[in-house]
């Protein structure tokens, strides 16, 4: 059968010759290789003191974004939940009441918005699919927790804080 990548090597099943049967040459070669590794640069990061630099496209924990006036962008359209391959997102929509215009940008908003970080595979499809630029993946990751329910992140965990002052720009990921 034609292999997919042409990179597979056929296994050599010939019986071992005398040179191979005495094992020692191969053992000595192996010892040489491991000796070289003894002096190589270590690949480990000393984690708490030293953190590993992430790549610019790293996809970590989600945030729910606000617009320039500090209003929630999400309109609870549910597209992210549909796009999510891991079915990690749940939400409940609610209608914006008069007088809440400074809180929510659209007439419909997410009253409840939860992402289960144990299910999420951090694929970023939610970010790509969102028509309102409401959800983004950041550069942090979910910290450890003692219980499963600690990994279900609600709106209070996801939503970026309300800007205190009017002139303070809302941080938005480019």
């Amino acid at each position: 059968m034609e292999s997919l990548t042409n990179r597979s090597k056929p296994v050599d099943r010939r019986p071992m010759n005398l040179w191979e049967k005495i094992y020692l040459p191969a053992v000595i070669k192996g010892l040489g290789i491991t000796l070289k590794h003894l002096f190589k640069k270590k690949a480990t990061y000393n984690f708490p003191e030293q953190t590993r630099p992430f790549s610019p496209v790293f996809r970590g924990l989600h945030i729910l974004n606000r617009d320039e006036e500090g209003r929630e962008r999400c309109t609870a359209c549910g597209l992210c939940a549909v796009a999510c391959p891991a079915e990690a997102i749940t939400m409940e929509a609610a209608e914006r009441k008069p007088g809440e215009e400074h809180l929510y940008r659209e007439e419909k908003y997410a009253a409840r918005y939860e992402i289960n970080m144990l299910r999420c595979i951090f694929c970023g499809f939610c970010e790509e699919t969102c028509p309102k630029d409401a959800i983004y993946l950041t550069e942090t990751f979910a910290p450890a927790n003692y219980q499963r329910k600690g990994f279900i992140y609600g709106k209070e965990d996801l939503l970026i804080p309300f800007p205190e002052k009017e002139n303070q720009p809302v941080t938005e990921k480019p």
Partner: protein, 346 residues
């Protein structure tokens, strides 16, 4: 004559025993640390580095952990044998150090103190005897656990140690033909003025080395433990300090077999140029002890180095290597040595 053992001699020997036991335990403790560090370095990692600087207190932390672990004895295990197993293994591991000459003599308080607990004239036979008792520790422990993996590990360990002891003994006979003595002290003294016996017996040494790996249950011959197939082999059911004894005794065995190899083939406490050095006999003895330990450390490093290089042998390969290669080779070595000795004498 034999009954005239003075109190001083008893005291002297007791102190020596205490020191040697302490040193072997200490070295075994730090071999575990060296093992973990070297394994890490070979695999491009850093190894334990949290307990103390460079993780130097790691063995203490490990020991403390094992000590405070819950003691579990399986319900269907034979309680007496279950406890006896690790005890035998540990005791036999510590016993072998008695006949190894750690150095020549020290002159203190106007007396000659030999740095060897007992200069038995059948030192090598004693070591072989005690080492082969060690397999009972494995067998008793594995059998008493009442667990199929333990039993499989036990069977493997027993058959492996028995098959490799044969080749080891045969390779040793060739050496003994040259030395003409079974006392380890004599063997070391002979190497003091001549060359080291590795020069006369390279093949014998190679066989001895391979067998030593097998006797210590070290990779590539760690079929008795065999983590990936038999969980932990004969000590699957063990926990707490009894497991600690098994693991620890293995490192002591490693240390002792390094010491035996150094004694037999690498001149023991002799080092090149020791007779042209103009220092007092006591200094020379201490230098000799240091040389002995340096050689042992090189062997310990080698043991660890091999463990992280060579994968485990398959069971049939192990048996083939033992019976079909090492034993014939050892016999051949024996014949060649004998023939050469006869030829050179005439």
């Amino acid at each position: 004559m034999l009954l005239e053992i003075s109190a001083f001699l008893v005291l002297e020997k007791l102190i020596l025993v205490a020191i040697i036991l302490g040193i072997s335990l200490f070295i075994a403790m730090y071999s575990t640390y060296a093992e973990r560090k070297l394994a890490a370095f070979i695999q491009d990692r850093r190894g334990p580095n949290r307990a103390g600087i460079f993780g130097i207190l790691q063995p203490l932390a490990d020991g403390g952990k094992l000590f405070f672990k819950e003691e579990i004895i399986p319900e269907y295990a034979n309680k007496f044998l279950f406890i006896l197993g690790p005890a035998i293994f540990m005791i036999t591991a510590c016993m072998t150090s008695a006949v190894i000459p750690w150095g020549s003599t020290l002159h203190i308080f106007g007396k000659d103190i030999s740095l060897q607990v007992a200069d038995v004239n059948i030192g090598i036979l004693y070591i072989f005897g005690v080492v082969s008792l060690g397999v009972y520790g494995i067998m008793v422990g594995g059998w008493a656990s009442n667990n199929k993996y333990s039993l499989l590990g036990t069977i493997r360990a027993a058959s492996q140690i028995i098959s490799y002891e044969l080749a080891m003994g045969l390779s040793l006979i060739a050496l003994l033909m040259i030395t003409g003595s079974l006392s380890l002290k004599d063997i070391v003294e002979q190497q003091s003025h001549g060359v080291w016996y590795i020069v006369y017996q390279p093949i014998g040494f190679l066989i001895f080395l391979v067998c030593a790996f097998a006797e210590c249950n070290r990779t590539p011959f760690d079929l008795a433990e065999c983590d990936s197939e038999l969980v932990m082999g004969f000590h699957t059911e063990y926990s707490s300090m009894k497991l600690g004894f098994y693991l620890f005794a293995e490192y002591i065995n490693m240390f002792i077999s390094s010491a035996v190899m150094v004694t037999l083939y690498f001149g023991g406490y002799n080092f090149p140029g020791m007779h042209s050095l103009h220092v007092s006999p006591n200094t020379l003895t201490i230098l000799g002890v240091i040389a002995f330990f340096v050689k042992i450390f090189i062997f310990l490093f080698f043991f660890i180095w091999v463990r992280w290089t060579v994968p485990r042998f398959r069971y049939d390969q192990l048996m083939k290597l033992g019976w079909k290669m090492l034993i014939p080779l050892a016999i051949l070595n024996l014949l060649i040595t004998g023939a050469l000795m006869l030829y050179l004498h005439h």
